[in-house]
């Protein structure tokens, strides 16, 4: 091998050459640090304040002066001067989620409003799991089939991957028309002669959330398939040949050798899909707008509505932090378990 050591002592330009990769990445790194992590901290700050329409950086006081309390004070002879000051203080301390917990008088009623949010995140979390599980299952099956060295592999791969090129807005609009009972699939099958065919999931309060899952799965399965296909192609043929020599059946080979060696691909897939699932906002807005009633509301749409439409920035920020913690609760243990073990090539 050629001797790459320099024939002269290291000068300024050599240090510069070594540092070029770091310099090139530095702006991006700085931007990510400030705009992603810095603003996560900003949101955490806002979630503890009483921000209503615009950000207000005072951390909330933790109690509230209600009109009932004011009337009681007035009846007990508290001066009008003091009452006015209290009313002004009250106006500047709009409630947010944190202070509701601390109020013992209205704890019951405060919890009620929180319960809507909990209903949304708890009852619709299964839709996220369903989306991720379905995408992985379908993507893996498609990748395994495509890996069989079939003839039109390139064309098929493109066809399956194509939906990923669409934005969620386009996907939402197209599926909204397809799933519309009067215009889309139901009408088509009825016109074909099946007069009692029903597929009104889109307008059904109970089933609307599953239409969101259908549209999202259609969009993301191709991407998952591509990831798994790349993983499959990276598996060493020698191990499989050895297993076949030992007499293992094909399903056994797949279950015991191939799928476990796809673990890095599983990790990437779960992380990417769960981030798509948690942040899915545009798809829901276009497909169902929150669904009949609010049956297909997701945490992101809830957060947007409260932070921007309903003038409760502090409350919206709290719900955003809840989403953040929910994602962290999944990702951190998974990351830890995957990256801790030493990997054998």
């Amino acid at each position: 091998m050629a001797d790459l050591s320099l024939s002269h002592p290291k000068g300024f330009f050599d240090y510069l050459e070594d540092a070029i990769p770091k310099l090139v990445l530095a702006p991006t790194f700085l931007a990510a640090l400030v705009f992603i992590y810095g603003f996560i901290l900003w949101t955490a700050w806002i979630s503890m304040t009483q921000s209503a329409l615009l950000p207000n950086y005072r951390i909330s006081a933790g109690y509230r002066i209600t009109t009932k309390a004011l009337t009681k004070m007035k009846n007990e002879g508290v001066s009008e001067n003091v009452l006015t000051k209290l009313r002004i203080l009250e106006k500047h301390e709009r409630t947010d989620k944190k202070s509701k917990f601390l109020r013992d008088v209205k704890k019951q009623i405060g919890a009620e409003q929180l319960r809507i949010y909990q209903d949304v995140i708890l009852t619709h979390s299964y839709s996220h799991d369903l989306f991720i599980a379905t995408c992985i299952a379908l993507g893996l099956i498609l990748a395994i089939f495509l890996d069989q060295r079939i003839r039109a592999e390139g064309a098929l791969r493109t066809i399956y991957l194509y939906p990923m090129a669409l934005s969620f807005i386009v996907t939402g609009a197209a599926w909204k028309w397809i799933l519309n009972p009067d215009l889309g699939l139901e009408r088509l099958v009825r016109n074909l002669g099946f007069a009692e065919f029903n597929f009104d999931w889109l307008v059904n309060s109970d089933m609307a959330i599953y239409t969101v899952v259908i549209a999202a799965v259609w969009q993301s399965t191709g991407f998952v398939m591509a990831l798994f296909l790349a993983g499959l192609r990276g598996i060493d043929e020698a191990i499989i040949k050895a297993a076949q020599v030992d007499g293992a059946s094909l399903p056994r080979i797949y279950l015991r050798i191939i799928i476990p060696s796809l673990r890095p691909a599983f990790l990437s897939t779960v992380i990417i899909l769960s981030h798509i699932a948690i942040k899915s906002f545009d798809l829901v807005m276009v497909l169902t707008r929150g669904g009949p009633g609010y049956s297909s509301d997701l945490p992101a749409t809830f957060m947007y509505a409260f932070a921007f439409n309903r003038g409760r920035l502090g409350f919206g920020a709290s719900s955003a932090m809840m989403m953040f913690f929910a994602v962290m609760a999944i990702i951190i243990p998974y990351l830890y378990s995957e990256l801790r073990k030493t990997r054998y090539a």
Binding site: A52, T95, I109, G293, Y294, R312
Partner: protein, 418 residues
């Protein structure tokens, strides 16, 4: 010498161009979402009037009906310390903006132009923050209208209803004749619009005020509220399956085309009929929603004015506020948009029959106490409260919750966001 001189000349020209865009006379930057045909034309009128007085108009239109996108943009501008001169904000949101301390005081213009005399007190109160004018109203929409296709009624042998009992009879006949009785748009704001029409009809103006304006828990969890919710649910059986998610103008189209018999919607629906070439009385009938003929649920669009530092800009801002409430703009804007002038005592000639009836009702209800702000259109309560009410109403409408449970839930949810 040649190239150096040319370079210097280019620099000088560039500097001149930069400086020459500085406008003399104030500049008004106006944020609004009036981007569709008639609305944009009306905004153009105000722009021309301002320019005739020597000011410049910088348009800041953000499309998206209802103004969600515009409000978000406005908030980011306000946080950045650079709000526009005027923004299209209405109802109690004006109070929220006033709390942030960024609004300009329009009392000079108000006194000079005698606004207290020209506006009904209910409307003027919405425009004031702590006693001073901070916003200028542009128009008045009436919410509680019913738009009916007389042909469909005739074919079904039904009468156009004036009470909710008559509605049920007529709807049954229309359904039997094979038409859709009610053209419905299944969006929360539309459901809330019809809900408040029913509350006003069933409970009367005083009940409406205590339930949907003062949000008194006893009024929200009362037998009258349960009855209103039951009527709302009753309407659902007379709508079609494709209703969820439908836009309001598509529902109006159903009435225009004769597929449906009636729609409960505000007076902006008139624009759809006019655009389709239909004439009032002959092709469509506009009536107050059943039971609410004495009530006027109003929605007043307004511009709030932000504090400005530049004296020229302040002059331009005051000019804009003054021009908006003057008869010329009031007439042109409202004829084009389909609403009625908010200024009392306007000449009646340019307005068509439904608008004239609306203007009469506006004046009559102002004195009788039937002039009430619309909750569904952000005139009566703060956004969070309105959101809570709409959540319960839309959930009730789209699920099999009982009316009693819904009324109790209404009271609870409103308390929770108070």
């Amino acid at each position: 010498m040649g190239s150096k001189l040319i370079k210097r000349m280019l620099v000088v020209m560039a500097v001149i161009f930069m400086v020459s865009t500085y406008a003399f006379g104030g500049e008004v930057e106006v944020l609004h979402w009036w981007t569709s045909g008639g609305e944009a034309k009306s905004v153009g009128v105000l722009k021309k009037q301002l320019e005739n007085e020597g000011h410049t108009w910088k348009d800041f239109a953000v499309a998206g009906g209802g103004g969600d996108a515009a409000m978000t943009v406005l908030k980011s501008r306000a946080v950045a310390g650079n709000p526009p001169t005027a923004a299209q904000v209405k109802g109690p949101q004006i109070q929220l903006w006033g709390d942030e301390g960024v609004l300009a005081n329009l009392d000079d213009v108000a006194k000079a132009e005698n606004w207290d005399q020209l506006l009904p007190k209910v409307v003027a109160d919405v425009m004031k923050y702590e006693g001073s004018y901070v916003a200028v109203p542009v128009n008045v929409h009436r919410i509680n209208w019913m738009w009916a296709n007389p042909e469909v009624f005739r074919k079904a042998g039904a009468q156009i209803p004036t009470t909710w009992e008559q509605f049920e009879e007529a709807a049954k006949k229309i359904q039997k004749a094979g038409f859709i009785p009610v053209a419905w748009g299944g969006q929360p704001w539309q459901e809330a619009t019809v809900f408040e029409m029913i509350v006003a009809a069933v409970g009367g103006s005083d009940f409406y005020r205590s339930a949907l304006v003062d949000t008194d828990s006893k009024a929200l969890n009362s037998a009258t509220m349960v009855k209103s919710l039951e009527i709302l649910k009753m309407i659902k059986s007379y709508t079609d399956k494709g209703a969820p998610g439908r836009d309001w103008n598509l529902a109006t189209a159903m009435v225009i085309q004769g597929k449906a018999a009636m729609q409960f919607m505000g007076d902006w629906a008139k624009g759809e009929f006019t655009a389709a070439g239909k004439s009032p009385g002959a092709d469509y009938i506009a009536m107050p929603a059943p039971g609410s003929s004495g009530q006027f649920l109003f929605n007043v669009d307004s511009f709030i004015m932000f504090k400005q530092k530049d004296p020229e800009a302040i002059k331009a801002q005051n000019a804009m506020a003054r021009l908006i409430l003057q008869p010329e703009f009031q007439e042109v804007f409202n004829v084009n948009k389909g609403s009625i002038p908010v200024r009392l005592g306007m000449p009646r000639a340019p307005f068509d029959d439904p608008a004239l009836r609306s203007m009469n009702a506006f004046v009559a209800s102002a004195s009788s106490g039937g002039l009430v702000p619309s909750m569904a259109h952000e005139m009566a309560v703060f956004p969070a409260t309105r959101g809570a009410i709409m959540d319960v109403v839309t959930d009730f409408y789209n699920s099999d919750m009982s009316a009693k449970d819904a009324a109790a839930k209404l009271a609870r949810e409103v308390e929770a966001v108070r």
